[in-house]
């Protein structure tokens, strides 16, 4: 009777983790640091740490939040070493719009607008859009109050719409 060793089970679990979450994690890392190469390093370091700490993962449903937390710590370590300014659009390596012929004008304009957002607005927005996290979950991840997160998300969208000149039906609605 074939017997799966704990190591191979652990390896399979890890592989599923990488295949299931590397996409979202890379995109989150990219919007966190604004650089493709650095984002790739961050994701790789995150998964290596996750591998070492895999036994501590108890709640499979919370795995994405767990990985995001590890990635944020890895990113914070970079900050400890040297300032990594990513608030300025000039620091962002935005994808070449020519590489995406369809929707390129609107998409690249929106990407530039997201890059221009202050980190405090951009990060919760990216967590929500990429990770599908609720305001409560984002608040827990960022160590903020839920009301503060709601305000940041509201302002982030307002700023984006304002920059792109989108007609906004929520104009006139005060912040939460």
């Amino acid at each position: 009777m074939p017997v799966n060793s704990p190591v191979s089970n652990r390896q399979h679990q890890f592989e599923a983790l990488v295949r299931g979450h590397s996409t979202d994690l890379y995109r989150y890392a990219y919007w966190l640091c604004g650089q493709d190469a650095l984002a790739q390093d961050l994701v790789q370091d995150t998964f290596l740490r996750a591998w070492r700490a895999l036994d501590t993962l108890r709640e499979v449903g919370a795995v994405k939040a767990w990985l995001i937390t590890i990635l944020r710590r890895e990113h914070a370590r970079l900050f400890e070493r040297k300032a990594m300014p990513a608030d300025d659009i000039d620091d962002f390596e935005l994808p070449d719009p020519q590489a995406m012929p369809e929707h390129r004008t609107e998409e690249s304009a929106l990407r530039a607008a997201i890059a221009r957002l202050e980190a405090k607005y951009r990060e919760p927005l990216v967590l929500q859009v990429i990770g599908g996290f609720s305001c409560t979950e984002i608040a827990a991840l960022l160590g903020l109050g839920e009301a503060a997160v709601m305000t940041q998300l509201f302002r982030a969208r307002q700023k984006l719409k304002g920059q792109l000149g989108f007609a906004d039906q929520v104009a006139g609605v005060s912040e939460p």
Binding site: T23, Y26, L110, R111
Partner: protein, 266 residues
């Protein structure tokens, strides 16, 4: 939930699934239309945030992980044979150390050097300083308590060197990397500077063990040695220091042999 509350929530969490939110949308035509417009914007937003992915991202992560895993397993296996070799190696070290010329690589340092040939630290692994706590923990696992942590440890790992237990670190100094390996359980060595096959090195008895530094030049050795003396507290064999500094070979010009390094290119 009234319309104002709904619109506030819509502006911050358009995919909200709260019962009150869903119920209001179902009964208010204006808010339902606002939700449709918001959904359109969210679709654009998702497209924009979804930047192109690097090719084979998951495969490359898995490759990096399996490489690390293989290294860990190999290091563990070596631990068994290390016990058997320990006694024999101690005798060899004692005999050879007594007879070697000053500038040749000491046996313990040679073991460390061999280990560094096998354990290549990638540039990515040593880009930034590791947290102080990681260094403290790594030494603690080797049974060594640090009084402080020297600044600029960019890589730390428990490794074997021959039969001995070590803490393997990388400390970049002035643009080149210095491999700093603290050997915990080898018999005390005398202090020595050496140069072998383009590698500069220094072996210093310190805190009950031996600190071995290897690099493409001796630049930074003095500062690193001083920092680790403070970190490892008492027990530093100061007696041989002055003598070894006098007897050691001339320090080469900084910047020479910069290409020689144990650190892999990215």
């Amino acid at each position: 939930m009234n319309c104002l509350e709904f619109r506030r929530r819509l502006g911050s969490e358009p995919a909200c699934t709260l019962d009150a939110y869903v119920a209001h949308r179902a009964e208010c035509i204006g808010c339902a239309a606002a939700q449709s417009r918001a959904d359109e914007f969210e679709m654009r937003l998702r497209r924009a945030v979804g930047v192109p992915l690097p090719a084979n991202l998951a495969d490359r992560i898995l490759l990096a992980q399996t490489t690390t895993l293989r290294l860990d397993v190999r290091n563990r296996r070596r631990g068994f044979s290390a016990l058997i070799l320990a006694a024999a190696a101690s005798i060899v070290i004692a005999v050879v150390a007594l007879n070697r010329p000053a500038a040749e690589m000491p046996v313990l340092a040679a073991m460390v050097n061999d280990h560094l040939h096998e354990h290549i630290v990638s540039a990515g692994e040593m880009r930034v300083a590791v947290p102080r706590q990681d260094v403290i923990d790594m030494f603690a696992q080797r049974g060594v308590t640090l009084a402080e942590v020297p600044a600029g440890v960019n890589y730390v790992h428990k490794c074997p060197a021959g039969p001995y237990k070590t803490v393997h670190m990388v400390m970049p100094r002035n643009g080149s990397a210095v491999s700093v390996v603290y050997v915990v359980d080898a018999p005390p060595q005398s202090r020595a500077d050496f140069r072998h096959d383009g590698t500069f090195g220094r072996e210093v008895p310190m805190g009950g063990g031996t600190l071995v530094m290897l690099g493409s030049s001796r630049q930074g050795f003095d500062a690193i040695e001083d920092a680790w003396k403070s970190a490892l507290g008492s027990g530093v064999a100061e007696a041989g220091v002055a003598q070894a500094r006098l007897a050691g070979p001339a320090v080469p010009q900084a910047g020479l042999l910069q290409g020689r390094s144990r650190v892999a290119a990215p």
